[in-house]
Every structure is written in C-alpha cells, then in structure tokens.
C-alpha cells in the first residue's frame, strides 16, 4: 500500500487517471482517491496543509499494515531544466532548519537533489536545491508513522531562472506530471514492493486467529503467541501449528506453556533451507 500526497488537484489528476483511482466519499476533510494499492490525498498548498493531510490519512487507516508514503508535486530549481523529475535525498525546512534524509534503498530511476521547503513563494532561486512548499511538513508527519526508507518526495521541476514560477499554469503542471508518469510509476512500484516486504515480515502467522478464537489472550499474551507460532514455522516442522492439538487446555496461559514446551524440545537444523 502507498499513500500519496499532492498539493494540487492538477498534480493529482494524471495519477488518478493512470492508476484508475476512485474518489472516496468517506473522507470529508480532504479530497481522497484510491484503488486497492494506492491512496491519494490532495492536501492544498503549504507545509501545514501537507502535514495535516498526511496525519489525517495515517489516522484514517489504523491497523497493522505498513504503508509507503510519497509526496508528489512540482518544485523550482535555479538551473535544472523544466519537466525534469528529481527525488529528494535531503529535505530541509527553511524556517526551522530541521533536515530529514529519506532512506534510499530502492532502485532510483531519476536524479536526486536537496529539497528546501519554504513558507512563502520566493522570487530568487537558491543554489543547488529544489524549492517547494510542502515536503518538510509531509516528511515530519509521515516519519511518525513509517521508517525513512518508505517515505519519499518526488518533484518535477516546474520553474527555474529562465522560466519563472509566474508562468506555471494548471495546464502546464498537469502536462509535466503526465509526461513523467513512467518515472513516477518507477518510484511507486518499488515503494509498493518495500511496503509489501515489510508487511510480510510483520504479518502474524495465519493460525494465530484460530487460537485467538478458541481462547482469550491478553495483548501481552498475543505477542507471546505470535512469537511462538513464528518459531514453530521457522523450525520447518512437518506439522503446522493447530489449535486442535491443544484443545485439552482450558486457559490461554496453559496453551502458551504447552506450545513453548513443545517447541523447546524440537531439534534445530540448518540443513534444510533456512527461513528468512
């Protein structure tokens, strides 16, 4: 799953069409669109709006799934040519001077650059940085919910010293995003893979729910149960864990003890393929 934040509707529209996202009427605070893998929210302009939309999206999706996060939009850069996509490798909040470093573990199909978030539009261009108005708010908020390898900001250069921001229109923005949809997708797909990898790692063993339906486990005991069932799978035993095998136990406590005693007696062998 990936959550995408754009500031403007015209930045979002090419994605809505490309990924066939449908409007989600459940949300009233922000315009939201989604399919099975992507949720897109239009935040409005500014870092506060971006932070609010990010937090809103995170809060409206409770539950254990690990989502990737992408802030997509346009940015200015003194020298870079118009329409060029660039991933942020360092995000600076101009007002507070705080900085964030997205974890770049996925394949990157475009150049990367520093991205400075400013509170007000600026007339002069800064040296060696993209400039936008959302990324720091987005990053500060998203990093409360996810690790930095899954949070990124991708910007398409919309203005520079030759072609200034006054010349940007909805139409040119839409065209720039459209022209870069393949690059955008080449960032989104590996992020989806990373989030699915994390979800697979974090997923509780499927039998856990059968056990929980049979006995009442406290939160602490649920963690213990998850740990024991994972051990069971990791040991590559011939039989899968089944609650039926423990049916003579009347309490969750004795079930946990029985599973632990059983597992402690099992041999460990690396000769059959090691699990990850």
């Amino acid at each position: 799953m990936i959550n995408i934040i754009t500031a403007l509707q015209c930045e979002a529209r090419p994605l809505i069409e490309y990924y066939k996202l449908r409007g989600n009427a459940r949300h009233s605070a922000f315009r939201c669109y989604q399919n099975d893998e992507i949720q897109l929210t239009i935040s409005g302009i500014g870092k506060l709006a971006a932070a609010t939309a990010t937090t809103y999206l995170a809060a409206s999706n409770p539950g254990g799934t690990s989502c990737a996060w992408l802030n997509l939009g346009i940015a200015g850069h003194a020298k870079t040519s118009i329409g060029k996509p660039m991933l942020a490798h360092k995000i600076i909040d101009n007002a507070s001077e705080r900085q964030w470093f997205p974890g770049m573990v996925m394949p990157i199909t475009c150049d990367s650059e520093v991205l400075t978030t400013v509170d007000k539009p600026e007339k002069t261009y800064r040296k060696a940085t993209m400039v936008d108005m959302e990324a720091s708010g987005f990053y500060a908020a998203a990093s409360r919910f996810q690790s930095c390898e899954l949070i990124h900001s991708l910007k398409i250069i919309s203005d520079n010293q030759q072609y200034t921001s006054e010349q940007i229109t909805e139409k040119t923005t839409l065209a720039m995003i459209n022209d870069n949809i393949t690059t955008i997708d080449s960032i989104i797909q590996p992020l989806l893979e990373l989030s699915s990898e994390l979800n697979t790692i974090e997923q509780p063993p499927p039998e856990m729910y059968d056990f929980m339906a049979q006995w009442h486990f406290t939160t602490y005991q649920q963690n213990e149960l998850r740990h024991l069932l994972r051990r069971w799978h990791a040991l590559s035993l011939s039989n899968k864990p089944s609650h039926h095998d423990f049916s003579r136990h009347t309490t969750s406590k004795t079930v946990l003890i029985a599973i632990k005693v059983f597992l402690d007696q099992q041999p460990v062998s690396f000769n059959n393929k090691a699990c990850q």
Partner: protein, 332 residues
C-alpha cells in the same frame, strides 16, 4: 558499490574523505551536519537498509578507544577496542550489530590520527604490560580494506608500540595489504568460523570456510600470527559432527605452531539487541530454538552451553596446547 555517500560537513575537505569519494565517482554526495542525522535515528529499518547500504563519512570526536567487554580478551590484562568503522559488509544473521543499530549504512570515521593518538596514550598507561586493542568489534577488520586502507594506516602505529597488541578479527579475504607488509609480532589476524553448513545458512555474503582457511595459510606463510575464533558457536542438531569436521578441516591445513590463540564462545546477545534481531527476522531458524535469559543476556540454555563448550574444548585439545585456548564467555 555505493550510490550515496553522506559526508559530515566538518570532514568534507579531509584528504581521506576525498580519497574514499574518489573510489565511488558515480555516487551522489549528500552533506549533513552530524552523522547521527543519517545513522541510527529512530524510524530506520536495518533490514531494508541492508539491501542498499549507503556510506557515511564522519569524524569521531571522543572515546576513540574503549574498554573491551567481558569475555572479549585473549589472556591479556588490559583489553580495549576501537572502531574506525561501524557496520559490516557481510550479513551474518547472528551478528549483534543488526540488533544494536537501526541503520545498516556503513560509517567510516576518517580521523584515523585521533584513534592512533588514543591508542598510543592508552598503551602508555600500561608500560611493559601487554595491552590489547581489538579492531573488529563494530565491523569486520579487513572486509572493507580496499576502501578504508585500515591496516595500511594502523599497522605502523602498532609497529612502534611494543606493548600494544592489535587483533584484526575477520572473515575476509582482503589480505593484500597484509601480504605486502612486513609482519609485526604484536598483531594477530584472527579468523572467525562456524561450520560450513551453519556458515552457508547464516553468514550471508561471507567467504566460504575453505577460502578463509586458504587466506590464513597465505598469511601464515608470510609470517603473520594467526588466531582462531569459534565465537559464536551456533547450535544445531548434530553440532558435534559439524564442529568436529570444522576443526579437522582447519587443523589438517594449519599446524598448531602457527596459531597464536584459539577462543570459543556460545551464541549470546544482550536482551534488547536479541529482541530487535528477532523482530527484523521473525522467521529465522537461528532464533527459533530454545533460549534462556541470563543476567540481561539471551543465551542457549545453560546445559546446552556447557555441552557445546565442553565438546568443542575437548576436540580442540586434540590439536592445540591448552596455553593457546581462551574461553569467551564472560565469568558468572
């Protein structure tokens, strides 16, 4: 090959920073104020970062030399460690680094001279006494040699300090510098081993047992003193056969006379690190066996520890004199 190199602004112009960056001409350089902004912050995932580790070049400001933890020594009274690098190019599933750090990026502290000065000063605190300095605590001592030039830079320091002993702990085949250098008496190149079957399952990216033995033979022929580290010993059903074969494999090629020291220690990890490791790799067989908690450490159950240690000790005694043997397990 690193795609990204993070550089602390303070060391941007350091000659070693430049030399290391020259090795990765295509890497993007990203400047930070302090390496802690990038390394080991909350909200980082070691397992994901291990897929594509970045390089971080930084300055270590203090505590260049630290007391070695209990059980890390090989007989000396004064034991210290120092880390010019944090993290490792290999990916051993039992490695405590993955539990200790949230980040898998490699940090290289480029101010070697400060480490060397601290080593000289520490050695001077114990005149005429063997003082040991372990370099492979937070990384493999040799594995990143082509980038760090670590041995090339540090051996001359030890060559002039007769009471300071250096242990290079490694699983690496990067021995070119050592083979080009004049061996020094106060340096031990210590190779770590687990049996072949266990190495294949758990030591990802590490050269095979056979290749490591070949590297040791070359070092021995060149005159370097060698150490053997069976730490951690990893349990599996039939470990007796595995370790028996491993010892046979090693000592049939390396005579005991060329060995400086042999140490043994069972798998053990501080509880918090162990928990992090299990969370990173919940389906890993290594963590699925029986473990006990003993004074903040997660260990195999006592009986098993004793059984493994006794078995391996007896086996080793067939090949080496008792005087070369050191147990790594900290005292009770």
């Amino acid at each position: 090959m690193h795609r990204l190199i993070y550089i602390e602004e303070e060391v941007a112009d350091h000659p070693r920073t430049k030399a290391i960056c020259d090795r990765f001409p295509k890497a993007t350089k990203i400047y930070c104020k302090y390496y802690g902004e990038v390394f080991n912050r909350k909200g980082q995932n070691f397992r994901l970062q291990k897929q594509q580790p970045a390089l971080i070049l930084a300055r270590k400001h203090k505590r260049h030399v630290l007391n070695a933890p209990d059980g890390y020594g090989i007989g000396g009274r004064h034991n210290y460690y120092f880390s010019h690098m944090l993290n490792c190019v290999y990916d051993c599933r039992y490695c405590f680094l993955q539990g200790m750090y949230r980040s898998a990026n490699y940090v290289i502290f480029v101010n070697y001279e400060d480490f060397q000065q601290a080593i000289i000063e520490t050695a001077a605190q114990h005149p005429n006494e063997e003082t040991w300095f372990f370099s492979g605590y937070d990384c493999d001592s040799l594995a990143y040699e082509p980038v760090t030039d670590f041995t090339q830079e540090f051996l001359p320091t030890f060559a002039q300090l007769p009471n300071a002993y250096l242990e290079l702990r490694t699983k690496s085949l990067q021995i070119r510098t050592l083979l080009k250098s004049e061996p020094i008496k106060n340096c031990v190149v210590a190779y770590s081993f687990t049996p072949d079957e266990i190495s294949k399952a758990l030591e990802h990216g590490v050269p095979s047992v056979e290749k490591r033995i070949e590297a040791m033979i070359k070092l021995q022929q060149h005159g370097w003193r060698l150490g053997l580290r069976f730490d951690p010993m990893i349990y599996q059903d039939g470990f007796e056969e595995n370790y028996k074969n491993l010892f046979e494999q090693i000592f049939s090629r390396l005579p005991a006379e060329c060995i400086h020291s042999v140490s043994l220690g069972t798998f053990r990890t501080p509880k918090a690190f162990h928990q992090n490791m299990v969370n990173l790799y919940p389906k890993e067989k290594l963590f699925a066996g029986r473990f006990d908690e003993n004074r903040g450490m997660i260990t195999y159950q006592k009986e098993l520890e004793v059984k493994m240690t006794n078995f391996c000790y007896k086996q080793l005694m067939q090949y080496i004199p008792q005087s070369l043997f050191f147990a790594c397990t900290p005292p009770e």
